[in-house]
């Protein structure tokens, strides 16, 4: 027994006494095994490095594309379910909805930028009008609030459908060409796109239930000020109320609620200025916060606070410049997700603060007898006036 143990011990490698120099050939440059161990990966990475990276990156992008696909499918399903549940239909809407999802908008040529804003406005409004007419044709008895909700849900489904298609196209092109640099911009952009797509998807319940969203804080503040005044329509889906406050004439403007509308503040300002020129314009809007900034914090500034593709802002800026009207702004900061989903408590709680800032701004920048045009910019869903 003792003899057997000692023979085993002799054949066993002494792991406490390994010569690493000898094992890896550090001391000997001519060890062919070592040369292979070091040189093979280098050669592999020189010739196939990009393909390996492409495979690794592809895996991550594929997961995101799968998520985007589920988002677009969810949005489509929610839209069809909503239409079936809330509209009295004559026919199955699925085919028509699928047709809508494939609609595209070709933006005007900008080689000669002269007059491009009018062209963009015309194209976008033509699309809006077309969508409105065709959704209405599904159910002619549909009321304006329901119609605005369906149109917004359609916009959500179309946006997610388009995001999925574009990202998938970029990915497949890079894969088809086996081109790693082509996939790099996609890899860099994807986290931002995913954040936006997730936010758009999470906006669906609020729009279905008609709840106010973060972007509606401007209309919420101005809408409350309008409550006891007479309202008149000054532009498409845009209402105006007149009020007196601390000796100033207030012209209160917002999109017509409680439907999911943003109104046409550009046209409204043009119409108001032509008949009753204000001395000051104050715009209240939600603004995207920078990373690190607190959500629902407010800030004051100068210039037209209004988002979108830029046509409304251009129109307001042009009218203000021609008529020498200063524009002041109060913004309520929030993330993309907060702006398009159900309003958070922090944002809703800022309403009183924004109202007192408006009063302060009016006191500081105008004198008694002057006229102030106050615009609550944003989606007015769930916010009447």
């Amino acid at each position: 027994m003792i003899k057997l143990d000692s023979s085993i011990a002799e054949t066993m490698v002494d792991l406490t006494n390994i010569d690493f120099d000898q094992l890896f050939g550090f001391g000997d440059d001519s060890n062919p095994l070592m040369m292979l161990i070091w040189i093979l990966p280098i050669i592999l990475f020189i010739f196939y490095g990009q393909r390996i990276q492409l495979q690794v990156t592809s895996g991550e992008i594929k997961k995101s594309i799968k998520k985007l696909d589920s988002y677009r499918a969810e949005a489509r399903k929610e839209l069809i379910d909503y239409i079936n549940k809330n509209l009295s239909l004559k026919q199955d809407p699925t085919k028509k909805i699928d047709q809508f999802l494939e609609y595209f908008t070709i933006m005007p040529v900008d080689m000669d930028p002269n007059g491009i804003v009018d062209k963009v406005r015309h194209t976008v409004r033509a699309r809006e009008d077309y969508s409105r007419i065709h959704v209405k044709s599904l159910s002619p008895e549909i009321d304006e609030i329901e119609l605005s909700r369906v149109l917004t849900l359609l916009e959500i489904a179309t946006s997610l459908h388009m995001i999925y298609k574009v990202i998938n196209h970029m990915f497949l092109t890079a894969k088809k060409q086996n081109n790693y640099p082509l996939i790099l911009p996609l890899q860099m952009m994807l986290p931002f796109i995913m954040e936006e797509a997730e936010a758009i998807t999470k906006a669906i319940p609020a729009f279905k239930l008609g709840q106010p969203i973060g972007d509606g804080i401007g209309p919420m503040v101005v809408g409350k000020m309008m409550l006891d005044s007479k309202k008149e329509t000054v532009a498409f889906q845009t209402v105006l109320a007149k009020k007196e406050h601390a000796g100033r004439n207030l012209l209160l403007l917002k999109a017509e609620g409680p439907g999911s509308n943003v109104g046409r503040p550009g046209d409204a300002v043009e119409s108001i200025v032509s008949s009753n020129k204000p001395d000051v314009i104050i715009m209240i809007d939600a603004a995207l916060k920078l990373e690190g900034e607190d959500s629902a914090s407010t800030a004051r500034g100068f210039g037209a606070a209004i988002g979108g593709i830029g046509t409304e802002r251009f129109q307001i800026e042009e009218i203000a410049t021609k008529n020498n009207i200063p524009i002041f702004a109060i913004v309520i900061k929030q993330s993309v997700k907060e702006a398009i989903t159900l309003m958070t408590k922090d944002i809703a709680n800022q309403a009183e603060n924004v109202h007192s800032q408006i009063e302060e701004m009016i006191q500081e920048n105008t004198t008694a007898g002057q006229t102030v045009l106050l615009i609550g910019v944003g989606n007015t869903m769930g916010v009447p006036q």
Binding site: L209, L342, M343, T344, A348, G382, Q385
Partner: protein
């Protein structure tokens, strides 16, 4: 170790125009801002929907 699931619950805040008493309840479909609500428990005055907002609950 595992991130908790976040659920957003919608609430409606009603406020009495006369005595400023506030009443918070869960959002019901059809609620809209500034709509008149049930009378005030305290002064029987008119209550109005003042805010509709979401609160995040971790489950």
């Amino acid at each position: 170790m595992f991130s908790k699931e976040k659920i957003i619950v919608a609430y409606t805040l009603e406020k009495c125009i006369s005595c400023n008493l506030e009443r918070k309840r869960k959002f019901k479909e059809g609620d809209k801002l500034f709509l008149d609500a049930l009378n005030c428990d305290s002064c029987k005055g008119i209550m109005r929907i003042e805010k509709i907002y979401g609160e995040t609950i971790e489950s």
